[in-house]
Symmetry: D2
Amino acid sequence: MVGGGPGAGIGETHRIAMRLDDRYELVAGAFSRDHEKSLAAGRQFGISVDRVYPDYATMAERERERDDRIDTVVIVTPTDKHYEVAKAFAETGINIICDKPLCLSLREARELKALADKTKIIFCLTHNYSGYAMVRHAGRMVRDGQLGEVRVIQAEHASGWAIKLLEKEGHKQAAWRTDPNLSGDASVLYDLGTHAHQLARFITGLEVSEVAAELSHIVQGRAIKDNANLLLRFTNGARGTLWASMAAVGNEHGLAIRVYGERGSLAWRHEDPQHLQYFPIDAAPQILAQGADWLSSEARRWTRAGLGHPEGFFEAFANLYTELADALLARSQGRAWKRTDLSFPDINDGVHGIAFVECAMHSYAAGGAWTKIGSI
Amino acid sequence: MVGGGPGAGIGETHRIAMRLDDRYELVAGAFSRDHEKSLAAGRQFGISVDRVYPDYATMAERERERDDRIDTVVIVTPTDKHYEVAKAFAETGINIICDKPLCLSLREARELKALADKTKIIFCLTHNYSGYAMVRHAGRMVRDGQLGEVRVIQAEHASGWAIKLLEKEGHKQAAWRTDPNLSGDASVLYDLGTHAHQLARFITGLEVSEVAAELSHIVQGRAIKDNANLLLRFTNGARGTLWASMAAVGNEHGLAIRVYGERGSLAWRHEDPQHLQYFPIDAAPQILAQGADWLSSEARRWTRAGLGHPEGFFEAFANLYTELADALLARSQGRAWKRTDLSFPDINDGVHGIAFVECAMHSYAAGGAWTKIGSI
Amino acid sequence: MVGGGPGAGIGETHRIAMRLDDRYELVAGAFSRDHEKSLAAGRQFGISVDRVYPDYATMAERERERDDRIDTVVIVTPTDKHYEVAKAFAETGINIICDKPLCLSLREARELKALADKTKIIFCLTHNYSGYAMVRHAGRMVRDGQLGEVRVIQAEHASGWAIKLLEKEGHKQAAWRTDPNLSGDASVLYDLGTHAHQLARFITGLEVSEVAAELSHIVQGRAIKDNANLLLRFTNGARGTLWASMAAVGNEHGLAIRVYGERGSLAWRHEDPQHLQYFPIDAAPQILAQGADWLSSEARRWTRAGLGHPEGFFEAFANLYTELADALLARSQGRAWKRTDLSFPDINDGVHGIAFVECAMHSYAAGGAWTKIGSI
Amino acid sequence: MVGGGPGAGIGETHRIAMRLDDRYELVAGAFSRDHEKSLAAGRQFGISVDRVYPDYATMAERERERDDRIDTVVIVTPTDKHYEVAKAFAETGINIICDKPLCLSLREARELKALADKTKIIFCLTHNYSGYAMVRHAGRMVRDGQLGEVRVIQAEHASGWAIKLLEKEGHKQAAWRTDPNLSGDASVLYDLGTHAHQLARFITGLEVSEVAAELSHIVQGRAIKDNANLLLRFTNGARGTLWASMAAVGNEHGLAIRVYGERGSLAWRHEDPQHLQYFPIDAAPQILAQGADWLSSEARRWTRAGLGHPEGFFEAFANLYTELADALLARSQGRAWKRTDLSFPDINDGVHGIAFVECAMHSYAAGGAWTKIGSI
């Protein structure tokens, strides 16, 4: 693990996800740029002192040399370090689990993808909402044609977490997420917009082809824009909107999606992840519940305790980890492992996400003009 | 009443709204262009045969001459007739209740407004959702500062009523609403978009200043576009989106609004009109229920039966009628009657609505460019 | 109309219900025991002065003598007067609409039933919740076997209206509803319990056969018990509970029912009356919405405006009135009119309701022992 | 761990709960009565072969002799073995985590309690719903007086899991849960009723003092009664009902509770565990969400990821484990550890639960007569 020392919420989330299904062992790390802190973290996690490294570069180099080298590295640093860390490990041929977004520029994203393709590593990008059983089921329903052709997609990740000027109150995460030097006004899109974008792509199997973007300020005094409203065009002609916000007061985490097709529609909200609403054109709306007998194999595969036993954020995260463990195991045993379009997100999803953000920022800079993904 | 013969749902809605609080008597009408049908309707409604007119022009002329002339005319024809009918009655000085949208062009809308201003008639435009007690309460809360400055408005009127090609199955209302000769692709905005637009204005007291619009097709084979996604800028700098659709499969009537301010937010859905969700910045979210003791006078004024006794579509419609009756009575008794910004919608709302639609259509024609209201 | 002078909420509710579908004319009344008040009410309602009567007895006598006598009388006095007023009009052969509960003793209820049977009047008891379209649909589903044999019924009418000692604050309705001289501790069952009881019977077509009752105090200082929890046995062996309360703090009106069968279940709440949840044994739960195309004729018959246009308390009340109007018209035209088991509640429902309350009070007096309906 | 071999859902649940916060190591077990299966399980769990025991008695004896003996044993056998296994380990002074219900007779329960008291072991009974952050918060609110005196409690654990005759289709869990030889008709109360009973006690701090019980059949052909409706009296005079069912078709897991006091009420449902509804007497209803800033320390202590990140069944289970780990650690370090009335359930809760079930069965046998807890 690179990053994720004690106190870093996302590191602990990844560690819980690892442990949940007991498929991983944490054996090495560079948990902090402060080596003392890193060593302390290593002790806490029960890691041999010789595998607690002063920095990621040393870790990549030394692990490469070991016979019992790590199978996969987990990258949970702040986003601006993802590129260099991922690059270092990709070059050693070590598989990668990287928190989202992949990085902060399309150029870097493409470079990482080329490298990953060349070294044939497995690269899992933790767009964790793809791990929910009912999100998988939604993806299956669309692919099975239960909605007919998709026509409208309304996606949002509008959180209320930063409605106050937390960055001026010593809130570390708020500080880097609103630092204009890291990614300018794009932070709200990198941090939240990419989740909504990936969720829409994952469920529908469609790509966004064009974007028209508007950014705005909610919290006065903030150094960056904290709200984004986008119009979307998809590859099949479907239209939609995407709303990303870090200051939608009163919202909890605020990730939600509605997909409307010619024959039916779906609605899913992260606040109630074990239910999926399905509206067929010719019958009454249905509430599909995780654990119900009649769900798809994709939903059943990622359900542990059954109907009426809520599984949430950590279980969805763990699902990605466990799915990756299956892939790593298959590969280590020389068995074939094939991604499907409902597998865990990978580096391609990362590239798409970064392209989407850059494209939206181009549109905004151009007064909201429709901008083609791929044109930049 | 002009229009609204038997079988016309909107006519019956207006008649129920009239009767509910027993403040009106229906005494004259030109219910159909077919005089025989009109006479039959008159008999059914118990109207004296000499006040069932062959057409609206005759009705306006003859009623003007009567000492017991009607206090107000109700216009419930298809939209393309609103302008001429309203004009005829406005010229006689008879007050008007007109179904929305006001008409189909900004030029006509402005002409009607000038005429109404000149003749000093009271002109009620039945954007009926403004009649809901909890919508009134929402408007009061915003004006009282409970949300702080409004920053984001997400409005939608995305109905699923026309997900099938009803216009090819003999469905009369679908036929005229999807007829490209009446208003081209703008129909979905005139019919549904204006409701969402007016609701946003009514609750927040803000005006839309700029629009960027995208229209699209959901139902293949339909002669007009049946879906519209808009980005909005408001006069105070707030941003938002507006989604109007007639083919959002699975949606019921689909009118909903969320208003986010600096200090709190509100959410209201027409499917559950007696509840308003309120999210203050520093306390737990609240469910405000119609009939609760602690609501504003605006909410209490429009509540008949109290907590837990749902009032719906007809009661909201009746609220506008009853509020207008108060105004008419005051005026007839020589008492002052003053509109407030939470009174029933009037011709100004009509002009704003038509300007909004025309502006959105300009934006769409210009490839989705931001277009200023008032620039056209 | 007997009772229901200005200020009496229930009188105004009945008048709105009459007007809504325009099938009634209010032409006579004894609105108050104070003749001056009654005359004032008559003037307000536009009633000829010679048909505003000093008391119900005079009204019954004089109306009987008129050629244009009233078709039906509406009884909206406090409950303790229902018996004598209903008796007076039944003896004249005038049809009756009576607010619930029918009366305050089983002896009186049976006497009224005998009289109504003898005089062949139509007697409508306004258990108004039976008027909701989705309640009708629920009844149809049970009768069509969509739930299989009913096994458990969970009914409640637990309102929060009297959680404070309103009777000591000059609240008139609270005063008579908590007056131990009127019906002792049974008030909460007469007022609210009979609604839940009737709703259960109406939807399932089953009768309660045995009751075990527990009453208790919520509000200290109240002269009567304000809470009742009952166990039920039904004629087919189904079991259930019924909770009636006037002091369930935080509840709105609090009427709700769940019916569980061998093949499916249903849930309906008065706070959201236009939706009915249906849980089939072998498929996903469904949300049945008023106005949907695929509903039963019973639901469609009582829907005015269609999907997504909420109809509430007054419309449900009006449904009973309009259904009765159909019956009265048929009879006056010499056509057959047949009740079905999904028609408006009548005097038999009234007798069942009073028997139920008396039986529950016997059980409570006997320490909660199971008590057979019909045994008392 | 005793019991919980591969395939036993509850064993895996306990193991996930152990791992989630990384406070436990599974080092010994007797996972199955079939030693081969047990050894296979041990290999899967990475346990040294010399600590995989042929039976619980051997395990208790051998572990007692080890210096590195287990800190605590987890008992996840079928209920009828709980008593003997718990007894064996209690006698060795090894702490115990035991799945609920404690055992199948009050005599055995009292014996275990006496033994636990004597040996001073820590005994955690996994009434896992007590582990939810919002259940803890509910308990805090009641104790802080936010509801005033509690007057009515409506609790239910009515699951739909066994609406079919699963026991005749080779469903192992259904087979033992409906075996009349194990606990007769009491199974539905032992399995589900005790959860609702414990939840009511945990949140309110009140004890049930008297019960009146009715049992019934939902599924025809089942060997035991699968439905129970109870009336309750609590120590402070509050009343309530408890519904336990294994065949409430359409219900998910069906655990829910509503608590009504003199000054407010609370509602919590296991299907949406991260929200608690609060209805104060003098203000609007509130939705309290896990992770909100203003929650009690009890809620914050058991929240990992914060607002809008759902935690569910496994996290609640893990909360009990982690709380117990704190206790075990404190004790092992010689620090004081004090239970509070919002700590994990222990053997006293087990005794209360068994007494409750036996008392309810007495009541049922006595025709539903009110029966005092403690009288049997």
